[in-house]
Symmetry: C2
Subunit: 349 residues, 2 copies
DNA sequence: CAACCACGAAAAATCGATTTACTCCTATTG
DNA sequence: CAATAGGAGTAAATCGATTTTTCGTGGTTG
């Protein structure tokens, strides 16, 4: 029945042991790099490993160890550049430390988020990097707390009393956007976003508002916030413009909002920056090749991922310091979608 | 020393067993839904499970079983919408069957690809969904073959003699693009792509060329193919235009190529579709909100993922039929970036 | 020269399940 | 009524490692 020679069972530690004429324990020690093994025996083990092509089964290995070398990552989605890069980075950092990353998408659902977390808990992962759908106060974080899981919260979070958090410095970046827009003489600005991401969204909004008001007390800042759904935001934005409102600039607090704003502009036949200016939080590759190129806040994905993993591994190693909240500085790329309203005639609605 | 109650060990099957007053074997049977258990005992087990919050440890469970319920997925990158959606879909299908998906990015490197594969082999995954960096003839597929791994190849593949393959029907989609462009009176078309993805790229190119020639024998089709690197392609494209070539339309065989084409257009101050038309293989969300909206070939991600998983699980279940090569039909979305050359004056270079 | 120590290696326990093999019992059948 | 079949359950083996315990051998010391 054995028609394929490759189909045979992989060698186990015992196969190596018997081939090298030692016990399995000795093989284990050699593999772990323990020194108390006679050089001659170590060599025989190494030869046997080489000969048989032996590799440790991480599953069996992890079962016995105290801490399993698996890290879980939960992102709201994989489809955007931001989270795509994030997963890539996290995986790469995990790999560097000999951990396996298991990534899952909560698909913007808090219910799924908790389910996935439960499944990761079943795997007894050493730690979790959670980018919550909503914010740090959701059921997922509560679940982690209740079950004594170790983890780090990223992206749509500000700070937490149980977990380290790492996110972009939304407030500072937004303040810089405000400075740019005010500097270009915008005095009527619309901010669009989602109110669900409570803390982060508010930080972006308030950071923007405070900076703008400080520079130009007469500035008018309108706000269109949808609860959670992008399509609702689209409808609200449509209503807003339909009322005849004509801000000279729009600041979107998140990527999808930028897309929605752009598509509304095109519905109305407005062009950036002549008819209206646009800046969005979150950069994407395409934004620099379109015409006009879209101004955006670039989040430091690498730093966020790096510091998140750093914090996580510190906790896994047993760190007991009070949790810290990290804010990573963003870069604001002012591109062609932003101009000065004074230089162009506002088109009638 | 026990300062946190949540920190305690999770209940094992033995804890449940002793609480229910039965043996571990009985608990295992109840969990597996085996019928040969006295209803009364089954109930006691269920109660104990409920009370202790017991959940099976998939690691321990998999160690004992013949087939481990882990699926590996290897993608060239996570940053693009296509692969992001792909991973999301694959994860969701895996989850439906009670499998855990471990995804890794080869970061467009064949060396990494094989490394990752080796690591997945260490985990003794039940199967692998591999989207190879190059094509089906790379070292990764060879590794899988040599080690008797079961797997499915997707995306940058056409067919293989050892593995099932699933990919977009590049040739038909390209033919449709050709029909559209020829129909709009384009007679000088540039195709840009990467030659590394041999088979797929050639299918797209030949599908396009054949259909175009059939409809308009006088059509001139230029081709700019870079070996593997996007920046090289950019340079070659720049050279091409610098020579004074003025095709009326560009067909990009892959997403990054579309980005490169767009950015070269903007360097030269050309606008779509007045100065030049553009169609790209691979759609993205932003393409419908920019001005102009970019025409694109939409790949059926859901179908590809679904059929890949179907094929994979059939193999895992022991299917021994000869491998089949599936081609999923694409949709071509003609958007504003495509126009008729006759309607506009070509701008001098 | 007996007692003790250190070293290296093997034996055995362990991790948390699943599966096999075996033991009771009860019910059916010839 | 003895024999057999089947149901329900348990003890033990197993998966493939790691870790703890035990053991034997030499060398040192009092």
């Amino acid at each position: 029945m054995a028609h394929r020679q490759a189909q045979q069972r992989r060698p186990s530690i015992h196969d190596v042991a018997s081939r090298a004429g030692v016990s399995a324990a000795t093989v284990s020690k050699v593999m772990a790099g323990v020194t108390t093994v006679k050089p001659e025996n170590a060599q025989r083990v190494i030869d046997a490993v080489e000969l048989l092509g032996y590799r440790i089964d991480p599953l069996a290995s992890d079962l016995r160890r105290a801490k399993r070398r698996i890290i879980g990552a939960i992102m709201p989605e994989f489809e955007s550049e931001f989270f795509g890069q994030m997963v890539t980075q996290l995986e790469s950092f995990a790999e560097q430390r000999g951990y396996t990353l298991v990534a899952a998408s909560s698909r913007e659902s808090e219910a799924r988020e908790t389910e996935i977390l439960a499944r990761m808990h079943d795997w007894r992962v050493a730690g979790v990097v959670l980018a919550p759908v909503r914010n740090e106060h959701g059921p997922a974080a509560a679940f982690m707390k209740a079950n004594g899981m170790t983890g780090v919260l990223i992206d749509r979070v500000l700070s937490d009393d149980a977990f380290d958090t790492v996110s972009a410095d939304s407030a500072s970046a937004s303040a810089e956007v405000a400075r740019e827009l005010i500097g270009k003489d915008h005095r009527h600005i619309l901010v669009v976003g989602l109110s669900e991401q409570a803390a982060t969204g508010r930080a972006r909004l308030e950071g923007f508002r405070a900076a703008a008001r400080a520079l130009a007390p007469d500035v008018r800042i309108d706000v269109v916030l949808a609860e959670a759904d992008v399509e609702t935001l689209r409808a609200q934005l449509r209503d807003y413009f339909a009322k005849g409102e004509r801000p000279t600039a729009v600041y979107s607090l998140f990527l999808k909002g930028t897309l929605v704003a752009l598509s509304e502009f095109r519905r109305r036949g407005w062009h950036c920056p002549d008819d209206i200016s646009l800046v969005g939080f979150d950069d994407a590759e395409w934004m620099q090749v379109t015409w006009p190129a879209i101004a955006a806040v670039v989040q430091p994905v690498r730093q966020i991922a790096g510091h998140a993993m750093e914090a996580l591994f510190a906790r896994i190693a047993g760190g007991e310091e009070p949790p810290i909240a990290r804010l990573e500085p963003c870069k604001v790329l002012m591109r062609e979608s932003v101009g000065s309203p004074s230089l162009s005639q506002p088109k009638p609605t």
